[in-house]
Amino acid sequence: MKPALRVSLFVTCLADQLWPAAAVGAVRVLRRVGCDVQFDERQTCCGQPAFNTGYRPEACALARRLIEIFESSGSDAIVSPSGSCTAMLHHYEQLFEDAGWRARARGLAERTHELSSFLVNRLGVEDVGATFAGRLTWHDACHGLRDLKIKDEPRRLLRHVRGAELVELPPPGAETCCGFGGTFSVKYPEISVAILDEKVDAIDRAGVDAVVSGDASCLMQIGGRLSRRGSAVRALHLAEVLASTT
């Protein structure tokens, strides 16, 4: 029997506090496919909000922290239920002048994977033994799609979910931004919601039970508007669907 792959969970502050089902689901799925999952409680935030708003010194301090925490994890890989936070780790190198820290940042980025990418590309797994009855549509979160080139992987995973019917939004629907953009969503809320409404209109027209994505931030944005508009469509994280066995 192969020794279990040791995976350290990069939970992300958003999933940890506001969408724990995503993180819990991720842990369960990883274990189901044979990983030994650890969680280092010292982690908090990757610094993306600071970096995206222009607060580089603050982001840099948090980057240093996270690099040190994960270097000491002794794991084979770091896995995260968020494309945008994983992509942030790829930006870490830019935050440092010092060659030593740049190398450490690069090292961390190389070892960190978004969940669907990890399952499909690293482990070669597409069927995680999930069951979820319903019509689903997928939303490609921007950073996962464009920074990490994640497109196919979630779809392959969802197609193996028993009872699930995957419906694509008419192109380019799945790939269009949901309008969250971090602080953009509250700095320019009207624009954010105008962008969001086109997305939600498309989801409404698709006649699905749920919209699924790999980023809790997008799900908060889309889910928040769906419910405000009185829609019965649920917003679910990929990990929730994959962890489902009913």
Partner: protein
């Protein structure tokens, strides 16, 4: 002029939003169809970017080479440090030649320097001949898109405008409207003493300028009048004549979804013999106006790779909703959001780098692979590093991020703060969120609480 206010006004304009949605969708489809025909599209993008990088690394040398070759072929080359100097040079040329009737073909740079106003102040009337530019000139407005300046106007609005300004019978027929503009402008072409054009590419190796268009107005502007003034940003220069091929492959497809525009004019100096057709004089004005400042860093330098195709506007979810006027600059959309603050200074346009969700769709469609999100992030970092602005909003934001940094550095404090929020049902005042979106109720336990309560050992061997 406040971006916030203008954006809100745009969002309230249902007709504008419909026009934008239609146009950006159509352009997107046409672009996709056009590039499907080019099997080595990605390779072409890489080559074009490499040429731009090579050029920008030695911009001064290539500009000198271009100027020398253009002058050898009979052109006069002028160097303009800024908008005021460029306007002065061009107005001076017009005055010296007693030019009373000036025709202009499309030039973003001429809008950037507000040339028409400067000429008018010196008693010289310049008429725009590109149909879209002509329409907005009659309407007294600014362009709202780099390629289709009047995209925000319906044919009904244009019909009313033409009825008022040209005495035309109001008609919704687009062909009739175009014909009316053609008639009105044809006389101006015939009479013009001086033509002002833009430049799409300037070839250092030969001193050639290349102008792309569909209507024929640029050809008329640059071949009929006695004097031709070509205004170009210094970043338009490329090293070799053969380099034109890859840009001609990329630009029309990216901008309008055409394999090629109807006309390309490649102009090198002046006529070789008196009996030849064309202007007696060619003046080329090289405009800096803040561009050379961008050369300093690799991140900002790529802004100058832009070939003004407009593809990023068509791909941008923000532009799609608010259109070009909200940006308050002749350069709107993603490229505008990074170019305008760098040309005008962050003080004038500090909102622009933040008016983006950083989705990256612009980077995907840019023919020269400008990483616009990276430039936006760079400008945001600059905005924060500036000590100048101490408005209340910025102070609050600085405090918020200082608290955030302090809390996130301390996991126990982080947990405690979140636990309090959960107990007290307290969230930071986020009216900006809750006005339009529900806030997901906080789950009874965070992930790390679940972990400690048993998830940690669940399924463990």
């Amino acid at each position: 002029m406040s971006f916030d206010r203008e954006a809100r006004a745009a969002l309230a304009d249902g007709q504008l939003r419909g026009a934008l949605r239609h146009a950006t969708t159509l352009f997107g489809e046409r672009r996709r169809a056009a590039i499907a025909d080019v099997p080595d599209w990605e390779d072409a993008r890489d080559r074009a970017r490499a040429i731009k990088d090579e050029t920008l690394l030695h911009l001064d040398q290539f500009l000198e080479q271009f100027a020398a070759n253009a002058e050898r072929a009979g052109a006069r080359v002028h160097w303009a440090r800024d908008a005021a100097q460029a306007c002065d040079i061009i107005a001076g040329i017009a005055e010296q030649r007693g030019a009373r009737s000036v025709v202009k073909s499309k030039s973003m740079a001429s809008e950037e320097i507000r040339l028409n106003a400067a000429l008018a102040a010196r008693g010289i009337a310049a008429v725009e001949t590109d149909l879209g530019e002509y329409i907005i000139q009659l309407a007294g407005e600014e362009p709202s898109h780099i390629v289709v300046p009047a995209i925000h106007k319906t044919k009904g609005q244009i019909a009313a405008l033409f009825a008022e300004k040209l005495g035309m019978e109001p008609s919704d027929d687009v062909t009739k409207l175009a014909a009316a503009a053609r008639r009105a402008l044809r006389r101006r072409f015939a009479e013009a003493d001086l033509g002002v054009s833009g430049v799409n590419f300037a070839v250092a190796e030969t001193g050639t300028i290349l102008i792309l268009e569909n209507e024929g107005n640029a050809r008329l502007t640059t071949s009929l009048p006695r004097t031709h003034v070509a205004l170009m940003g210094i970043e338009k220069v490329i090293p070799r004549f053969a380099d034109l091929e890859v840009f001609l492959r990329l630009l029309p497809r990216s901008g309008t979804g055409q394999a090629l525009t109807a006309y390309q004019s490649l102009l090198t100096g002046t006529k070789r013999q008196p009996a030849d057709e064309g202007p007696e004089e060619l003046h080329i004005v090289l405009l800096d106006n803040g561009r050379s400042r961008m050369l300093a860093s690799p991140v900002t330098r790529q802004t100058l790779a832009c070939i003004r195709c407009g593809a990023c506007l068509n791909a941008c979810p923000v532009y799609r909703q608010i259109g070009g006027h909200a940006y308050g600059s002749v350069y709107p959309g993603p490229i505008g959001a990074v170019l305008t603050p760098q040309l005008l200074g962050m003080g004038e346009s500090s909102a622009l780098p933040y008016a983006s969700s950083l989705c990256g769709a612009c980077r995907d469609v840019c023919p020269v692979k400008i990483d616009i999100p990276a430039v936006l992030l760079h400008l945001r970092a600059q905005a924060v590093a500036r000590r100048g602005s101490t408005g209340t909003r910025t102070l609050l934001e600085r405090l918020a991020f200082a608290s955030y940094a302090a809390v996130m550095a301390r996991p126990r404090l982080f947990e405690w703060v979140m636990r309090c929020a959960r107990r007290l049902h307290l969230m930071p005042p986020l009216g900006a969120w809750t006005k339009w979106r529900d806030l997901r109720p906080l789950a009874p336990r965070s992930f790390r609480e679940e972990w400690r309560r048993g998830l940690c050992d669940e399924g463990a061997e």
